[in-house]
């Protein structure tokens, strides 16, 4: 069972290379942009000296920590957005493509159950793609820290103090890991819905997946004047019960670090217990299980010829 899962997930990597190409591409883009920015900044020698002097002597550890965290959060968001788009297209293709090219007949000639296959696609979307994104985030951070420290040293700054002394690496990476993974779990009802549409639709999976998401709330509003569907489903993206209060700008507020610098911590703002005990998280998992069961059922019972 586990051996089959590993083989099936490996198969997903072969078929959907975008799972690792996308994080790699974003990491390269971010790194190149930072590099370009540094080269551009090098043209302003006088201002630069002043800035490095300021950063070394006037700014405290709090400001440096906040600035680096803000940069990290910014790049992590890029990954999160790309990941979301990637997951939608991955899910919609995963059980549709094999029917379109008829390779489903080959896959089903091997001793693997339909449930194993569908679950491998679910695991890829909920766990593997997020993990690939976290690896991309960490790699981007390391690459940019190295580049920036070399650059700062070349410009006469103390990279050890300015960059490495202030960077809350573990805090940021753990936070990225938790947020990205929790987002996968939180969005699992959507992932399962996309997988179901992918297994079920005869054509145009993208259209079939999004039409109900637009039409149902519209019809509900026209006929009932209520917004239950929109609140429960469409607003789910903003409603993840994971952050206590997270306002990056407040990181730069000195009041915030009066009692030490612990306030400038992403991890400190995450409430994993609240997330794990939230009824809407479990409700989402239930919806996910229903759509996955439906997808397995459709793959198993529908005659493909």
């Amino acid at each position: 069972m586990i051996g089959n899962q590993l083989a099936l997930i490996k198969r997903e990597f072969w078929e959907h290379r975008s799972i690792y190409v996308t994080p790699l591409a974003i990491a390269s883009i971010v790194t190149l942009s930072v590099l370009a920015m540094l080269v551009f900044a090098s043209g302003f020698a006088k201002e630069l000296d002043l800035a490095i002097f300021g950063a070394s002597n006037l700014a405290g550890e709090g400001e440096r920590k906040a600035a680096l965290t803000a940069f990290f959060v910014g790049t992590s968001w890029l990954f999160l957005v790309a990941l979301a788009i990637l997951t939608v297209f991955y899910c919609l293709d995963s059980l549709y493509g094999e029917r379109k090219d008829k390779s489903i007949l080959f896959w089903r000639s091997l001793p693997i159950t339909d449930a194993e296959t569908v679950i491998s696609k679910l695991l890829t979307a909920v766990v593997i793609i997020p993990v690939a994104a976290v690896i991309g985030i960490i790699a981007t951070h390391i690459a940019n820290l190295i580049i920036t420290s070399i650059w700062v040293s070349m410009k006469g700054g103390d990279a050890g103090l300015l960059i490495w002394g202030s960077v809350p690496l573990f805090d940021n990476w753990m936070a990225a890991f938790i947020v990205v993974l929790a987002s996968g779990v939180w969005m699992s009802p959507f992932i399962a819905w996309f997988l179901f549409v992918s297994a079920w639709t005869k054509r145009a999976p993208l259209l079939m997946a999004f039409m109900p998401l637009i039409l149902i709330p519209l019809l509900e509003w026209i006929f009932l004047r209520t917004r239950f569907f929109a609140t429960a489903v469409l607003d789910r993206g903003d409603a993840i019960p994971l952050f206590r209060t997270l306002d990056i700008e407040s990181f730069f507020d000195e009041e915030h670090w009066r009692d030490g610098l612990d306030g400038i911590s992403l991890l400190g703002h995450l409430d994993v217990v609240q997330f794990l005990t939230s009824p809407s998280m479990w409700g989402g998992l239930l919806v996910c299980a229903l759509f996955i069961t439906a997808a397995v059922y459709v793959r198993r019972y529908r005659d493909e010829s």
């Binding site: 590993l6 198969r11 008829k102 390779s103 007949l105 080959f106 000639s109 001793p111 005659d303």
Partner: protein, 285 residues
């Protein structure tokens, strides 16, 4: 003899259409059975039921298992090629071998690589880069490297040229088949396989018209080419079919001994194709 497939009153409906209609048959170990029928006769539906790809009514057991409910267990011991174009186009040959090796307990990668080395299929190629014939060779190399008890081939050589077709069947017979294995095969090109079959089954409109060992065909069926007076005499013996060829009458008899027909014309065992046409036309009357 152990029976590999056992069907008792198997039916499959699609709405009001009976694709397979109360069919009973048995396939014994070590046989090569040809399942012959026109398009829409229910061949593919029957194969799907045997492979556990579709549910059906009646009793059907394959290798002692319920094919639909115990499909995973069953697929460890049966293989099938459903159509030539089903290998995923994006996959590399090496990836395909690796995948099948990791999910199939009875697959020998070494054997598959051995078969592939005799072909022109490059191991670093993607399926989409291969010609149709090469894809079939690849698929067959994989199938033949699986130590399966039952092999099901549904139109395996469709769209291939004659050289590939001949090679396909000779590989199958020489490198794969032995008395422990069983092969179930459907094809339109009956003439090409009739020499390798041990048994034959005709199916039309979801019903079995003929289910017989090949060597019993010569005992039960005889074709007479005749003309004039003799033809009239022969017609009195109740042929199941008749057609004209080069101005002569060709009559097909079932269960009429050769002694009775001796002297009325030229006698020979009918080809599977002729027998098939006669049976299908007979069933329509």
């Amino acid at each position: 003899m152990t029976s590999v497939v056992n069907a008792r009153g198997v039916s499959k409906h699609f709405g009001t259409v009976r694709a397979v209609d109360d069919v009973s048959f048995e396939i014994e170990q070590g046989k090569i059975l040809g399942l012959i029928g026109p398009n829409g006769a229910g061949k593919t539906t029957l194969l799907k039921a045997v492979l556990g790809l579709t549910d059906c009514d009646g009793e059907l057991s394959v290798l002692g298992l319920d094919p639909f409910r115990q499909r995973k267990e069953l697929l460890k011991n049966i293989c099938f090629i459903a159509d030539v174009a089903v290998l995923p186009r994006w996959i590399k040959v090496t990836q395909l071998l690796e995948f099948v090796e990791s999910v199939h307990p009875n697959f020998s990668r070494k054997r598959a690589e051995g078969f592939l080395s005799q072909t022109t299929v490059r191991s670093d190629a993607k399926v989409r880069e291969l010609s149709k014939g090469m894809v079939v060779q690849l698929h067959l190399s994989i199938i033949m490297a699986i130590d399966a008890k039952l092999l099901v081939l549904d139109e395996p050589t469709l769209g291939l040229d004659i050289i590939f077709r001949k090679e396909f069947y000779s590989n199958l017979l020489n490198d794969y088949f032995d008395e422990k294995r069983t092969i179930l095969i459907t094809t339109h090109q009956v003439e090409e396989i009739e020499n390798l079959l041990t048994d034959i089954m005709f199916i039309n409109d979801g019903k079995i018209l003929l289910d017989s060992p090949m060597d019993a065909i010569a005992d039960s069926y005889v074709e007479l080419t005749t003309s004039g007076e003799d033809a009239i005499k022969a017609r009195g013996l109740g042929p199941i079919a008749e057609h004209e060829m080069f101005g002569k009458s060709v009559l097909l008899f079932e269960g009429v001994s050769r002694e009775n027909l001796d002297g009325l014309g030229e006698l020979r065992t009918p080809s599977v194709a002729d027998l098939f046409v006669a049976k299908v036309k007979g069933a329509r009357k």
